[in-house]
Symmetry: C2
DNA sequence: CCGCAGTGGTTGAACGCTCAACTAAATCGC
DNA sequence: GCGATTTAGTTGAGCGTTCAACCACTGCGG
């Protein structure tokens, strides 16, 4: 049986393309700024952030992957690089011999602390400043709805 | 002089992280679906779409790069691959000897036509279906504001 | 005209991500 | 307890993106 495609109407078309352009431009810009100012891509920055917020500045690899919205493979490669940079250290998990624990080093914390102000300024300038408070609120609700929907399916 | 960082308040923090998670999950999902069903990443799909909408199904490389929100280098590499796949052909520009024109082949058009319904379904399912009509409208305004702001700076 | 800055486009290396295959350890089912 | 399944994490190959360097051509200033 042939199922008719529910094509996008002009308004949806416009919304989708605007969203695409905006999110791509935003992420590209922040990525470039972070690479220039801190020598790391945004994905790596986020890993350091999550570690810095965890108790003892450490997390199991799987938990870190979940927190950073990363695949295990991606995280494994990323932590290997972060370890080579001296920003993260790996330790064996005492309760599960399969496990590995990623620990943020003092050097990593210092690097993160140095990068954070500039990055936050970027987020503010490119995301929050152009939007009204109402729009920020709308964006939060929309994003939470989408994120919740995407992780459930 | 020391300038105080304007840190994100808890609401902004939450908004930013939700947006990050949502847009990343959305793009990852659509990318994976497109790769699985059509054998190409979303960026390549978009290039074919832009070509298919242009008069004569062809565009100057620079115009195509702008339309697809891509860097020239990225587009150059991408078109090389699309050409190898037989979906795009390169022609010399008659009015500017530096120029190259990317032309969508019949094969490319057919591949796009075959991929489109599944992709549109994905966009609908993951983006529009979870949102209310009002939220779709909000998202359009927000995205257009951000996109306009980002391209101006 | 001619020199030269700017534009259009490509290239190669380095890097990050994906996918599938793999090892090792924990846990489930009986 | 013991085999089968599942879970944790890593690895390597292949692909796409970035960045800087580069060539070829255009168009502007004098």
């Amino acid at each position: 049986m042939v199922v008719m495609t529910r094509w996008l109407d002009p308004d949806e078309q416009r919304t989708w393309r605007a969203f695409l352009a905006a999110s791509r431009a935003l992420m590209d810009t922040l990525d470039r700024e972070l690479q220039r100012d801190a020598g790391m891509p945004h994905a790596y920055y986020e890993i350091l952030v999550r570690l810095s917020e965890a108790p003892g500045r450490q997390l199991r690899m799987s938990d870190l992957a979940d927190a950073a919205g990363s695949s295990r493979s991606r995280l494994s490669h990323a932590v290997a690089r972060l370890e080579a940079a001296g920003w993260v250290r790996r330790e064996d998990c005492p309760t599960d011999r399969r496990g590995q624990i990623a620990v943020l080093t003092d050097d990593g914390f210092a690097t993160l602390a140095a990068a954070a102000p500039g990055h936050v300024e970027g987020v503010r300038r490119h995301l929050f400043d152009p939007l009204s408070p109402a729009q920020v609120d709308q964006l939060r609700r929309i994003s939470e709805t989408l994120a919740e929907h995407l992780t459930r399916s």
